[in-house]
Every structure is written in C-alpha cells, then in structure tokens.
C-alpha cells in the first residue's frame, strides 16, 4: 500500500486551509481546558466525582491513547489549546496575517535545549507524582494552569511554540508514537521546495504564519516534530503540501539515531509497566509509597522508578546488543534498535489504558451532569452509580494489544537491524520478556 493523498479532496483541502474550522475547535478546547482548571480548583475534592480528574485523566486520556495517537499521530496537537493564548500574544493576532515585527523577545531556543530531554524530564516529573496528580483535583488544576502559563511565558521569550516543541510532557511521547500513525503531512515534490523563494512555509507570509513547530516541511521525513498545525498548507504558494494516508509505522522503517528519542522510548515503556504494577496491581504497599509524596517510602519508589527506566531497562537492552557482532557503534545500535520499543510501548499504554478507562468510564456520566459539584443534574445522570464496563472483553483485548504490539515490534526490530547491520534477535527476545511481564501484571 502506498500513500493516498487526502488533500486531493477539495472538501478536505478547503476545510484544512480555512482557519475557521480549526479556530472553532480551538475555542471549544480552550473553554474546556479553562473549565477543567476551574473545576479542579473549586469543584469536588473527591477525584472520581470531579470534572477535572474525570475528563482529563479518563475521557481525554482514553481518546488520546486509544484513538488520537494510534490513528492520527499528532492530531491532538492540531487542536490542543495549551499554546493558544501564548501564541496569540506572541503574534499580536488571532486570525489576521502576521505582523512582520516580532512580538515580545522572539529569541531562538538555545541549541543545548533543542532536543526532547526537557520533555523527558517534564514527563518523568509528572510520572513520579502521578498517583497524586491523577487523584487530587486541585493538583490537576494547578498542573493544567502551570502548563498554560508556562506556554505563555515561553512564547513571550522564545520564538514559535517553544513549549510544545521542547517542554510539553505530553508532546514528547505523542511525537514519538506519532511515527506509527497512518497519517502524515509531507511535501509532494521536493524540487518545488528547493526552488521556492522565501520559504514561506517556514518564514511565514501574508497567507499565514511560519511553521510554529520550527520545522521546514521540505525536509520532513518523520511525524515526530510536525504538530499538524496546518500553517504550511495555508502558506505554501505552490500547493505542495499534502496530508496523506499511509501504512502504519511508515516512519519507523528509517530508525532514529538520537539518544533523547531512544530514552523517551524506554521512559514510556517503563512507565507503562510500573503503572500497571502500582496502580492496577493488588499490592497496597506500592500504592502507599507512590501516593505519600515526600515520605521515605515515596523516595524509595522514586528511586526504583528512575532505576528501572534509566538503569534496568536500557541496561538489559544494552547487554542484549553486546551479544551480537556488528560494525556499527554500540551507541548507534542502541539508538536505532530502540525504535522497536516504540510500537511495543504504545501497545503497552493501550493495554494499560483499556483497563483503567473501562473500569472508570462510568464516572464520566456523573461528572458531566454536575461538573462543579454544585448539586446540578444537567443530563439526569448526576447520581449514576459506578459500574465497570466490558470487563468480559478486557483480558482478550489486552492480549490482542500486547501480542499485537510484540509482533509489530519484532517486525520493526528486523527493519531497524537491517539499517545498522546487526541481528534483531536480542531486541526481539527483550520485547518478548517485557511483553510477558506486562501480561503477568495485567492479566
């Protein structure tokens, strides 16, 4: 199967080129986001009855990890409200063509930060506090507000969407996993970009803004850093930008050689396994340790968490790589072959989230009817009782996700191994052991 260009359809193309449909979605999302902050701060103290907790960590998370990322890649980033206020202030405009004078400081992000290490750190920070974050409404409200203000602050200092590109804890893993999605934004003809004068897709023009994600579309080969903001579709004077349907995981055929991305794969894989054990397992002591932030038990938990992610998982992976001969350096093999962990990690998160979401989805009904805990009953469901959903299909669905992820990873390992002239077998065995562990944790 090759690519199918969706933007050949005049309806899709016009809908994407016009700013109004996206703006309408943005405004709905921004209102929802601010409402989630407010309900986190002033709503029910009980997490499972608070709109903020229920809509962010159950509804949004389910949509993100089960639908948006696997099928639309960075589709969420295309409608995410977090960068909007900062971007509007930075541009001094909401819809109008850009003013050539830069607003605010408009600095370039220092080179040492132009990678995803800060996103790795920001994700890990949230992950270490996740038991509190996922269950305590005012903490969720504060974190959501902090992300909004951080995005505004960074937009005031740096050019483009510095927060999305370099700091957002969610954007890092969405970017990593977006490589598996069957959708992409790419140029149609490279030669057109080579001869294009002024590169308006990157620098902006009277038709629209320069790429907010600091990406030159002419050089795009992977989804990782394209936020699907659609500006280049609007600014390209040659109609050379396309949105394509493509096979799943097409980007992974050419593995990355970046260590920040390699460690992101380990962070996500390890976090899914740790969450499966701590949050969904029957071991109360782990839950106590994860929840009692600042206690000695939590410090041990944090130490073990970081040791698994930065020591045990990459350590065994490296040991496996050392078992085979290759002319490629170990560092390059490590970075390239960790590409195989991307589909595995995504499917680990799908399997984990299925359990978490199906068990707790019924809270959505009550929170929807009384989002601020003011005694409202907007849809007659305020007193809906908790009831887990579809528990009979949970285990088969998780098996399908995990074994499917293993097959997907094994195939990816074969391709990546071919690129670095190494054997894929140690990586396949590694993925198999990780899958068995995850099966044991979840089933």
């Amino acid at each position: 199967m090759n690519r199918i260009e969706l933007t050949r359809s005049p309806f899709i193309k016009n809908a994407l080129k016009s700013r109004y449909p996206q703006l309408a979605v943005f405004i709905v999302m921004l209102v929802g986001y601010i409402f989630a902050i407010l309900s986190g701060l002033i709503g029910s103290r009980v997490g499972s009855h608070n709109f903020s907790i229920v809509f962010v960590w159950i509804a949004w998370w389910a949509i993100l990890i089960l639908v948006a990322v696997p099928f639309f890649g960075r589709g969420w980033c295309a409608v995410c409200p977090i960068p909007l206020p900062g971007e509007w202030l930075q541009r001094g405009a909401v819809l109008s063509p850009p003013d050539k004078r830069p607003k605010w400081l408009n600095l370039r992000v220092p080179k040492m930060f132009r990678n995803i290490w800060l996103q790795n750190i920001s994700f890990l920070l949230l992950a270490l506090f996740s038991s509190v974050l996922l269950t305590t409404p005012n903490i969720t409200g504060i974190v959501l507000a902090a992300m909004l203000f951080a995005a505004i602050g960074l937009s005031a200092i740096f050019e483009r969407r510095a927060f999305c590109r370099y700091l957002c804890p969610v954007g890092g893993f969405i970017g990593l996993y977006s490589q598996t999605a069957p959708i992409e934004l790419r140029i149609k003809d490279k030669q057109v970009c080579v001869t294009c004068i002024g590169k308006p897709c990157y620098n902006g023009s009277s038709a629209g803004y320069g790429c907010p994600w600091d990406v030159f579309p002419g050089g795009l080969t992977r989804n990782t850093y394209c936020g699907l903001c659609l500006e280049c579709i609007r600014t390209c004077p040659h109609d050379n930008i396309a949105i394509n349907l493509r096979p799943f995981s097409a980007d992974l055929a050419k593995p990355s050689t970046r260590m920040d991305e390699a460690f992101k794969a380990f962070i996500m894989l390890g976090s899914a396994m740790i969450y499966a054990g701590v949050l969904l397992g029957p071991w109360g002591a782990f839950k106590d340790a994860a929840y009692n932030v600042g206690s000695s038990a939590w410090l041990i938990y944090a130490g073990v968490f970081l040791s698994i992610i930065f020591g045990i998982l990459p350590g065994f992976f490296t040991l496996g790589l050392l078992q085979t001969k290759s002319k490629t350096s170990l560092k390059q093999r490590f970075a390239s072959l960790s590409t195989a962990l991307i589909p595995l990690g995504l499917m680990f998160w799908v399997a984990f989230s299925l359990s978490f979401v199906l068990t707790n989805a019924s809270y959505i009904l009550a929170a929807l009817s009384d989002p601020l805990s003011l005694g409202w009953n907007l849809f007659g469901t305020a007193n809906a009782t908790w009831q887990p959903m579809l528990t009979s299909i949970l285990a088969p669905a998780q098996t399908l996700a995990l074994v499917g992820g293993l097959i997907w990873s094994a195939r990816t390992a074969q391709k990546a191994a071919g690129e670095v002239k190494a054997s894929p077998i140690p990586v396949i065995v590694y993925c198999f052991i990780a899958t068995c562990l995850m099966l044991w944790l979840l089933l």
């Binding site: 009980v46 997490g47 499972s48 009855h49 038991s131 509190v132 269950t135 305590t136 949050l279 969904l280 397992g281 029957p282 071991w283 109360g284 002591a285 839950k287 106590d288 929840y291 085979t324 001969k325 290759s326 978490f356 068990t359 707790n360 908790w386 887990p388 528990t391 009979s392 949970l394 285990a395 088969p396 098996t399 995990l402 074994v403 293993l406 097959i407 094994a410 195939r411 074969q414 191994a417 071919g418 002239k421 190494a422 054997s423 894929p424 077998i425 396949i428 065995v429 993925c431 198999f432 899958t435 068995c436 099966l439 044991w440 089933l443």
Partner: protein, 151 residues
C-alpha cells in the same frame, strides 16, 4: 519453504493456543472463607486463590472508612462500615483471574484500591504467553538470516 505456508502455520497454531479447550482437573468443590481487611487503599490479603466451583465466603472488615468490594466478572459486591464487617457469598463458577475493587468512594486513591481473585488456573495468562512465544518464534528464521548476512 514458502513463507506464506509458515505464516498460515503460525496463525493456525495461534488459533489453537487461543481457543482450544484445556483439560480441567476434577476437584471437589469446597466452601472457602476469607477475612479481608480493607483500609485506604489496600486489601489484606489482596490475592485470593480458589478452585472453580468453590463457594467463596468473603468477610470484609473495614478498618478506617467505608469500603466496598466488587468482583469483576461476577458482578457481586458488598460494603462495610468502619469497624464493621459484611459478608459476601458466591459460587466461583467462572475460571480465570478477576480483579476485585472498592466500589465505595473512599478517598483519593479509591479507583486504584484493587485485589486479585484467581479461580482455578489463570489459563488466559498462559495462553497469552504461549501466543507471544509463537509470535516470536515466527520471527526467528528471518532473524537468523539477517545475522548470517552480517557475519
């Protein structure tokens, strides 16, 4: 040999592993009684094992706030007030592994107050691991070929 033949072979093996009925050891059903202490946010003991067909009596004792116990798959539940106990009785006639969880909002970590009931053998886990093994074996011949190319 034809790769399609191998693929068909592995798919068939996978279907057998996933759906073939397993022999069940005939065990005389018994009455099993467990006392479970519930506190924020853990059960003790948190893992129960019974044989298929056993009658399970669970005496739930809450040691701090109101707690509940709902068994996934069996759709049965009880609630216990602080310092009080409540008893749940059901016949464990469905084999497999089931989570039991608190069904009364008991605090922040309430959604994660979880225990595990295993009825008979957790055959789904073993089937899943067998499926994963078949999936991996299916990739090995090609992997070896790649290794030879490198060497």
């Amino acid at each position: 040999m034809n790769p399609r033949f191998f693929l068909l072979l592995f798919v068939m093996a996978g279907l057998v592993v996933a759906f073939a009925p397993l022999p069940v050891l005939a065990v005389t059903p018994q009455e099993r009684t467990f006392r479970i202490d519930a506190r924020q946010y853990a059960y003790s003991p948190s893992e129960l094992k019974v044989n298929a067909g056993d009658t399970v009596n669970i005496q739930l004792v809450s040691t701090d706030v109101v707690h509940g116990l709902y068994v996934d798959g069996y759709d049965v539940s009880i609630e216990a007030d602080p310092g009080q106990s409540a008893t749940l009785t059901f016949v464990a006639d469905k084999p497999g592994s089931f989570r039991f969880r608190c069904n009364v909002t008991c605090g922040a970590m309430h959604p994660f107050m979880i225990g595990k009931l295993t009825v008979g053998t957790n055959s789904w886990l073993y089937r899943s691991i067998a499926l994963a093994s078949i999936a991996v074996i299916a990739f090995f011949p090609r992997g070896k070929k790649d290794e030879r190319t490198v060497a």
